[in-house]
């Protein structure tokens, strides 16, 4: 099998379906080379020779709804953090299409390895948003069962999940399962040895894994140029599997490309790299101040490529959704915001003895000993005020 990396990727989707969305918008090839696009920033539907897509009007409305609700949830989380209700928040603002498009491309039996910013993907995997907030509030470590949603817990050590995903995919292949694994990572992460090693492994073992890089142009304060001299998707070629760059603010293109990539993996053709070209509109996290390192103009330019606005323009132009639909999504969004606000404020704090839990799967004499000492020490304080006592052993 010869694999090559081309601007448009290795066309695993060639010949798959045709667009069925009705519409009169001029269908033309997207102008920008090296970027798969199906919906221009102006909301015009365009065709790509390698990536066609079948989406029903209902699916289109669903993608819109997903993106709006995800953005609202994200905004609510930022507010909660400002109010001191969350320790930290890593906003996905601007990356809704990259996350919803790719998340919706996965099947229930596919398996997802996220970073710390994949709130939109979590949404598509039916992870309760309150679980994400509980984690950022610091009262739990995620709370969802990764095997229920096939959505792993968040990863914060940059790049390590790409290796886990590769190993997991090797297991999937060994089981002969008809499923694929998708590993999310960032442009910054692409410099990590772990990621390069994951590429090597996945290629050598022909593992059914899609490496999904959200190139949001920044790794904290460092622009992507600091990480790579070539477009990130081109790296795949050196490892022997296809890579493709997709307009990460175009939910249709992301959906089409990710579907094709997952199918490529599922059908035994091995790994594939998808680079979703997008932008982190907000701060790296709530502790960051992006004005320290990037210009307003750059942000404005990306604002004009907003993923939600362009889909809405398209929906409106094609008459796919009317006022009633938008009002409904708005109401749903308000309800979600209210639910997360109240849910977060009412989250119980874990009991102090929780620190001794989950150190070893079957417990450990060392931990038991520490726990016992801790209880004894605590009982020496009248008030039992653990918070100020600290370890006394």
């Amino acid at each position: 099998m010869s694999v090559k990396s081309t601007a448009a990727g290795d066309s695993p989707a060639k010949g798959r379906g045709r667009t069925t969305t009705r519409g009169t918008a001029a269908k033309r090839r997207a102008g920008e080379p090296g970027l798969v696009q199906l919906l221009t920033p102006q909301g015009e539907r365009v065709e790509h020779p390698d990536y066609a897509i079948d989406v029903t009007p209902e699916e289109l409305r669903g993608l819109y709804r997903d993106m709006v609700l995800t953005r609202r949830f994200d905004a609510e989380a930022i507010t909660l953090q400002r109010q001191g209700e969350l320790g930290l928040w890593a906003s996905l603002l601007g990356q809704e299409a990259a996350q919803i498009g790719s998340g919706r491309a996965t099947r229930p039996d596919d398996y997802v390895f996220p970073t710390y910013r994949e709130h939109g993907v979590a949404w598509t995997r039916d992870v309760d948003p309150l679980n994400l907030l509980g984690m950022f509030r610091g009262v739990n470590h995620g709370g969802w069962d990764p095997n229920e949603n096939n959505f792993q817990l968040y990863t914060i050590v940059i790049g390590s999940q790409t290796l886990h995903a590769t190993g997991y995919a090797m297991g999937v292949a060994k089981d002969g399962a008809d499923a694929a694994v998708i590993a999310y990572f960032g442009d910054g992460a692409s410099s990590q040895g772990d990621v390069a090693e994951a590429f090597t492994f996945a290629a050598v073992y022909n593992a059914p894994v899609v490496f999904f890089c959200q190139n949001n142009q920044w790794a904290i304060s460092e622009p992507t140029e600091k990480q790579s001299r070539v477009p990130i998707y081109q790296r795949a070629a050196g490892f022997g599997f296809p890579g493709v760059r997709v307009d990460g603010n175009d939910v249709l293109a992301v959906l089409a490309v990710t579907r094709a990539a997952l199918e490529h993996a599922r059908s035994g053709q091995g790994p594939m790299l998808v680079e979703a070209f997008t932008y982190r509109m907000g701060a790296h996290t709530t502790t960051d101040d992006p004005t320290r390192y990037r210009s307003d103009e750059e942000r404005e330019e990306w604002a004009s490529k907003d993923p939600i606005a362009r889909l809405r323009t398209y929906l409106e132009r094609e008459g796919i959704a009317g006022e009633a639909f938008y009002a409904e999504v708005e109401a749903e969004s308000d309800a979600l915001a209210k639910r997360v606000r109240e849910g977060v404020r009412n989250m119980p704090n874990p009991g102090t003895m929780a620190i001794f839990e989950n150190v070893y799967a079957d417990g450990s004499s060392l931990v038991d000993e520490e726990r016992a000492q801790f209880v004894e020490y605590m009982s020496s304080f009248e008030s039992g005020d653990v918070a100020t006592a600290g370890t006394g052993h």
Binding site: G87, L88, M135, G138, V139, H141, I156, V157, I158, G188, A189, S191, Q192, G193, D194, A219, I220, S221, E222, K226, Q227, S228, R292, Y293, N349, P350, T352, A354, I355, F356, V359, L366, V367, E370, F374, Y377, S380, F381, V386, A387, T388, A389, G390, T391, G392, H393
Partner: protein
């Protein structure tokens, strides 16, 4: 000496001034790491240095700890004097092979031909609600390694003056900056530099018990000593400063006077730095002791995330004072 010796300053600013001096003094010195340039470092330590020294000498690197530590080794053996900043000790684990297998052993493996005059700075410690993978205190763990020197500045003066001595050292030097110290403020004693990297410091003299600590636990230990003083217990507080090599003379000298010792270390107890200090006291000062050596360490669990759990899992003033009382009780 700087004319502003009476003005308020912070630990962060003094680390920065130390780097500014080093960069200005020696062309071979340069700084590299993630976000150290325009951003000024994740903790703001190098803020503004890129404006003064340019992107060649204050380098933003690709996001790869193994690469920039390894490249630092290469630059050091080529005659440069790199300062590598690893955002936090947690991510130094991705560069462990470069630190332990390479930097620490090259001199030996080359029969004395290849010295590695590399300085690696990193943030260490917990207490900032960043969960287990961002809260390690591994300086004691690094102190296990022959071939490197391990420093833990805990005062403004050490923040300012340890770097120059570290750069002058022909071997790799690891500097651990506890995250809780960056905002430590006060007045710099400009009369004390340059500082040695060999001795521990007595931060508070006392006669009844020796409280031995370093880095982020120094403040809590001094507070505990104040509290003990109110109860009539006169505690001596020792700041180890250099974790490798340990200054046995100062540690044992103190214990011989007080006859009691408490070792405070945010790191884990088992096979940790506290074990090493306590063992040295047992080996060299056993007959001087009037009570068993006590230890106050981080709970032996991954550092918890929730604020009150994290606090409970770390050494705190009450726990330190309680341990000291047990030794005199």
């Amino acid at each position: 000496m700087s004319p502003d010796s009476t003005s308020n300053t912070t630990y962060r600013e003094e680390l920065r001034e130390a780097m500014r001096e080093a960069l200005a003094r020696d062309e071979r010195v340069f700084l590299m790491g993630e976000d150290v340039g325009r951003y000024g470092g994740a903790f703001g330590v190098s803020l503004g240095l890129i404006d003064q020294f340019g992107p060649d000498r204050v380098r933003d690197t690709p996001l790869s700890e193994s690469a920039f530590v390894g490249a630092g080794i290469g630059a050091a053996i080529a005659g440069m004097r790199p300062i590598v900043e690893i955002m936090t000790v947690n991510f130094s684990l991705l560069a462990l092979d470069q630190i332990l297998n390479n930097a620490a052993t090259l001199l030996h493996m080359s029969g004395g031909q290849v010295a590695v005059p590399l300085v690696i700075r990193m943030t260490t410690g917990a207490g900032r609600r960043l969960a287990a993978q961002h809260s390690h205190s591994l300086e004691g763990w690094y102190a296990h390694i022959p071939g490197i020197r391990v420093l833990a500045p805990a005062t403004l003066e050490d923040a300012r003056y340890m770097l120059a001595s570290a750069l002058a050292d022909p071997d790799p030097v690891l500097i651990f900056e506890h995250g809780s110290l960056y905002n430590l403020s006060g007045q710099l004693d400009t009369g004390c530099g340059p500082v040695d990297l060999d001795t521990a410091a007595i931060r508070r003299p006392g006669n009844d018990v020796s409280l031995i600590t370093h880095g982020g636990s120094l403040g809590k230990t001094l507070q505990a000593a104040d509290r003990l003083a109110e109860e009539g217990i006169d505690a001596e507080v020792i700041d180890l400063r250099t974790l490798r090599p340990l200054d046995d003379t100062t540690i044992l000298g103190s214990v011989r006077r007080t006859h009691r010792a408490v070792v405070i270390d945010e790191g884990w107890r088992t096979a940790g730095l506290s074990a090493e200090v306590a063992t040295r006291i047992a080996e060299q000062g056993f007959y001087d002791l009037d009570a068993p050596v006590e230890r106050v360490c981080g709970a032996e669990v991954p550092t918890p995330y929730a604020a009150q759990l994290e606090e409970a899992a770390l050494p705190q003033t009450d726990g330190i004072a309680a341990a000291a009382r047990r030794t005199v009780g």
